[in-house]
Amino acid sequence: MELYRLTAHQIHQLLTEKQVSSVEVTEAALNRIEQVEDRVQAFLTLTKEQALAQAKAVDEKIARGEQIAPLEGVPAAIKDNMCTKGVLTTCASKILPNFVPPYDATVVSKLNRQGVVMLGKLNMDEFAMGSSTENSSVQLTRNPWNLDTVPGGSSGGSVASVAADEAFFTLGSDTGGSIRQPAAFCGVVGLKPTYGLISRYGLIAYASSLDQIGPVTKDVADCALVLNAIAGHDPLDSTSANQGVPDYTSSLVNHVKGLKIGVPKEYFGEGLDSEVAEAMKAAIAKYEELGAIVEEISLPSTEYALPAYYIIAPAEASSNLARFDGVGYGYRNTEAEDIVSMYSKTRSEGFGPEVKRRIMLGTYALSSGYYDAYYLKALKVRTLIKQEIEQALATYDLLLTPTAPTPAFEIGAKTDDPLTMYLSDICTIPVNLAGLPAISIPCGFSKGLPVGLQLIGKAFGENTILRAAYTFEQNTDFHLQKAALTRG
């Protein structure tokens, strides 16, 4: 089999057995990118030389007979909203065309320290706002399963590059489903960890109280390895949890007997694709067959999650994105005659329509006279949703839902209708509001496109999620099927 088809843990094995070198693996990845990138369009920046230099250093280490870390020498890539020292970081926005951070995001320095080979930076919806990566101001990333469909978003590049075997794993960020929904669309594994498990330092904020970085991988074992590499307390992030982290690979056990899984019926309502529904039924049957106890439950507040999210996230975004003003860095309109018009021209020209829409929504929701009716109320709804899910998780070990109500849709199908676009995150958003961890794993197909299964766990309960996901994977072969990189 071609090297690029392998998983990170398989590459690790080959490296330690000295069957391949990291340079060979890296070249395989770079060649693969060269072959397919014109169709996938996942990368915004390639760091070829850096990658080869890192790979060479790992090979020297292996030659010296030293032990290597599980991801050492494995080529990976990063969503372009995480700061990389000396490497362009754009958020796929015209307002940040030339920002070269003088520092690394904590996750980036963690991966660097563990010898991960960095291939480059990945496309996304501008500032992580979107569900199809069509809001990138740079390029259109395509779904490797059908190049006429979207990869999902906002971490479209992170997910498409893994599905197309360009990178062995990537990092994405998830504010309302931005890792899980595209992972479902592209048939890969995507985890949104518990809020606070991964440092956000260096992640260019969209909505600070919801954003979380997570792994995108080819299988669950790799997910555990990447999580091991990036989890843990960071003194630079005051919202990162000050507690130890377990070894997540210890959950890679094929065993779910007695595990209690709740299936909230509200996630199976109007708008659910029939083949997605079938895939869910089959997944439930599989878990039951493996000895899990699966029961239907109700989470009646679910319908309020989307509106609450579209108040809270834009409110925070309106403030987080205020710094892009043309003063210190990034794009500036140089024709403006005074400071106010410089601000307004810079921002009008620099931001795309969806970003502007959310800034306006958020500004409005926080305005004097509207704060109580919108923002404060949304916070209360958020608390209710959190309590409701946590209560369910007091009885059940996990909740099972579809990751998205439909498989990937055609490029351009929803760009004129933001509300329809927003609905594609309806199953993932409540998890962010509750700050809980959730994974999306491949569980079937609809019209030839992958379908994702979402497992939601307790706060810091990633181990249970990984065990259930691993068990499903061991007993199915959806994750082994590969995208054809063709149209229609």
Partner: protein, 483 residues
């Protein structure tokens, strides 16, 4: 001018003198080269996050306790959103509805009356940077530069109740507040360096009217004197409007130091909507009682308590005690002198007289003085023993002030020891009497003041070293014997 009742409330911003900024590790040093005390966090670069400096909370707690406030058990930061080039994130991390301290007070003394001024709240926030405009003023500037050294320097804002009713009240309040904050050692409170800034809210109403009048907020005063002048001007401006049957507009006005007037900055309609919301990048603070008590124990004796002690235990007049305790440094100096030399009144005369005079003349702070308290005590002991005369002591002190040398050394080196030996002085007295028959004759004819001249002559002969008491006594004796 009609008789209006004046209502004033103050918002005072105080820079805390922590070594590092509120949300990053950058230095807070004043006067560094532009944009050198900066890092990605205080530059507000994409992706950075704040980490709260615990010292800032501790200092804010100190201020709260020193101003008799109630400390919040649960407090949080909020974002105050507005655009300005000196604010790199375009929001200021501040505190909105749950400030760290509230409902305190301080007491001022005006016209012999003690007045209690309420403190509404104290909250923590980050300072903004500084704009440097090229050109005569902001309106005429052709370019502006941004210096972000000050961005993220910790501030507390102290909001008073509208309990002040005159310029004198405000002066007393600011002086007292400054003294208290300096005592707690959380700020230098230097208005010229911007480490203490003050906004004034002022309104007038007819005497006895139930409702407060419309207020104006005045900003941009950079000395206590400017605050006084701005208040005086604003009272006049508002009373002119009211007396003419007009209405004061609610607005923000800026003090123009050169023209000595306030000018309109923005009206109520133009006021910012700051869109405050909880800072999602910082966890709320839980301040337990144990922490509060630990901080309380670190508070020094406050000015009022110290003043009381100086009056009651050392018998100082209230005026002296007030002057000395107005500054912690001066008060500490005074206490240190008293360790070696116990006459409090003489000490206070010297501290308030010679020491403050020379400090003022040299534009120096007490902290900078070369004369150590024990050296001043040494001088006062020499004076008490009669080793030097009062006049010589002042000369010696000037030398000490200039060089930092001890009194003993100066007295010895310059041969300034007082002559108290009656035999030696008697000879000189005789010499002076012999040389000035006219003055002697004047004295005998009843002109008592002639003695003064003769004493002066004796002092001149001895280069001021003769003990004036002995000279007086001997002269009187000699002259009486002539009689």
């Amino acid at each position: 001018m009609r008789d209006y009742q004046i209502t004033i409330g103050l918002e005072v911003h105080v820079e805390l003198k922590t070594n590092s900024k509120i949300f990053c590790g950058c230095s807070t040093a004043f006067g560094s080269r532009q944009n050198t005390n900066v890092c990605p966090v205080c530059l507000g670069m994409p992706g950075v996050l704040p980490v709260l400096n615990k010292k800032v909370v501790e200092y804010a707690l100190k201020a709260g306790l020193a101003l008799n406030c109630e400390i919040a058990a649960f407090s949080k930061f909020d974002r105050k959103n507005y655009y300005y080039p000196d604010l790199p994130k375009n929001f200021q991390t501040s505190q909105y509805d749950l400030p760290i301290a509230k409902d305190g007070f301080l007491e001022i003394l005006v016209d012999g009356q003690v007045k209690r001024i309420g403190i509404t709240r104290i909250h923590m926030e980050e300072d903004a940077g500084k704009l440097v405009h090229q050109g005569d003023d902001i309106a005429a500037s052709y370019s502006s530069y941004v210096d972000l050294n000050r961005t993220g320097v910790p501030l507390i804002e102290i909001v008073s109740e509208p309990d002040l009713s005159s310029g004198e009240d405000v002066k007393a309040y600011l002086e007292k507040l400054k003294a208290i904050l300096q005592y707690t050692e959380i700020s230098d409170c230097k208005m010229e360096e911007g480490s203490l800034r003050c906004d004034v809210n002022l309104s007038l109403k007819e005497k006895g009217a139930a409702q407060l009048g419309t207020r104006a907020e005045i900003k941009n005063m950079n000395s206590f004197k400017a605050v006084q002048r701005a208040i005086e001007h604003e009272i006049e401006r508002q009373s002119d409007i009211l007396a003419g049957g007009g209405q004061v507009i609610q607005e923000t006005r800026s003090w123009d130091e050169n023209r000595g007037i306030t000018v309109s900055m923005r009206s109520k309609e133009e006021a910012h909507d700051y869109r405050y919301f909880p800072e999602p990048d910082l966890a709320p603070m839980v301040i337990d009682n144990e922490w509060v008590e630990r901080v309380r124990k670190t508070l020094p004796e406050m000015p009022d308590a110290r003043k009381k002690r100086l009056v009651e235990e050392h018998g100082l007049p209230a005026y002296d005690a007030g002057v000395i305790t107005s500054s912690k440094a001066l008060s500490d100096y005074f206490d240190a002198v008293l360790v070696k030399y116990q006459d409090a009144k003489t000490t206070s005369n010297w501290v308030m007289g010679e020491l403050l005079r020379l400090l003022n003349a040299n534009a120096m702070e007490v902290e900078e003085v070369k004369v150590k308290p024990e050296q001043l005590a040494g001088l006062l002991i020499l004076l008490e023993k009669g080793t030097v005369s009062g006049k010589i002591a002042k000369t010696v002190f000037e030398e000490m002030f200039a060089t930092g040398a001890g009194a003993d050394q100066i007295v010895k080196e310059k041969g300034l020891v007082q002559i108290s030996d009656e035999g030696a002085i008697a000879a000189i007295v005789q010499q002076v009497i012999d040389a000035n028959p006219q003055s002697v004759a004047d004295f005998i004819s009843g002109k008592e003041q002639a003695v003064g001249f003769l004493v002066g002559q004796v002092m001149k002969e001895t280069k001021g070293k003769a003990n004036p008491g002995v000279v007086n006594k001997l002269l009187k004796e000699k002259l009486d014997s002539i009689d």
